[in-house]
Amino acid sequence: MIEFLFPMGWQHYLLGGLCVGCGTALLFALTGRIGGMSTVFSSTWSWVVRRPFFQQPRFVTSRGWRLVYALGLILGALLWWLGIAGGAPQATAIPAWQLLLGGFFVGYGARLSNGCTSGHGICGLGSLQWPSLLAVLTFMATAFLSANLAVRWLP
């Protein structure tokens, strides 16, 4: 049963998830901040786009620490890459156009719904907010659909 559900093992998934949770919890304990990830994509634009939407206080006042948080994310991944993966080359077989187009919908949708897998998923569920639960159920449903249709229809 375990092999059926987790053909690549389950320990690293749980360990990684706990690590992600500890990062978000540490941010909250030390600074009181809610550490969703997608907002950084709007708040960073506030440095260069003058349009009032991007100049809202919620972006302008948080853009500094959100970028630092993102930098930490890169450093943590670097630590794993050099320390555990031995610097082995990483690549994906998914075509560039699929990454770019999928990414576009991810960015547009996450910002429109004000959260992503970490914002609604981890922080929203962690603070027991039912709108976030509905958002998670919605994006899980459309993601299952789109991933399985893509496998069927794309070469």
Binding site: H12, G36, R58, G72, G126, A135
Partner: protein, 150 residues
């Protein structure tokens, strides 16, 4: 609370928190779109463990810390972020899922992938940044969600 020293410590804490987050995303394989798509194809349920493990820790932290401490260690108050269920949230979540199912990359892993030397994922990072830009350009400035929640 706003001395240069406290601000520096807050910055370092934020960096360390991000580091743990990014390390966890990498250990769990979420930085590989193939692993995420494997879950969405029903071939490997690992993503549930990643999500479950993270939610469990954060749930405990968000529920217990404000009861134990009057304020976070390095600032005046614990933030809250109210999520709302409305047309934008529903439509946005649906579009997010469509994109996620197509590429297997969500915002956290797209950023973390920079640290794993997986340059292919720059395509996804660019797509997400572009999507966020277009969303902001199309948005009404005074929408419901524009009210400060932090």
């Amino acid at each position: 609370m706003n001395s240069a020293r406290t601000r520096l410590l807050r910055g370092l804490s934020t960096l360390l928190a991000g580091l743990l987050f990014g390390f966890g995303l990498s250990v769990s394989g979420m930085v590989h779109p193939e692993v995420v798509l494997g879950f969405l194809h029903g071939a490997d349920f690992g993503l549930m463990l990643v999500m479950g493990g993270a939610v469990l820790v954060v749930l405990l932290a968000y529920q217990l810390l404000p009861r134990w401490l009057s304020r976070p260690v390095l600032d005046h108050h614990f933030h809250t972020h109210q999520s709302r269920w409305n047309r934008d949230t529903a439509l946005g979540a649906a579009l997010f899922g469509i994109g996620w199912g197509l590429c297997g990359v969500c915002p956290g892993p797209a950023i973390a992938a920079l640290g794993t030397g997986n340059w292919d994922l720059l395509w996804a990072l660019a797509g997400i940044a572009l999507g966020a830009l277009v969303q902001g350009l199309r948005a009404r400035t005074t929408n419901e969600q524009a009210k400060p929640t932090i």
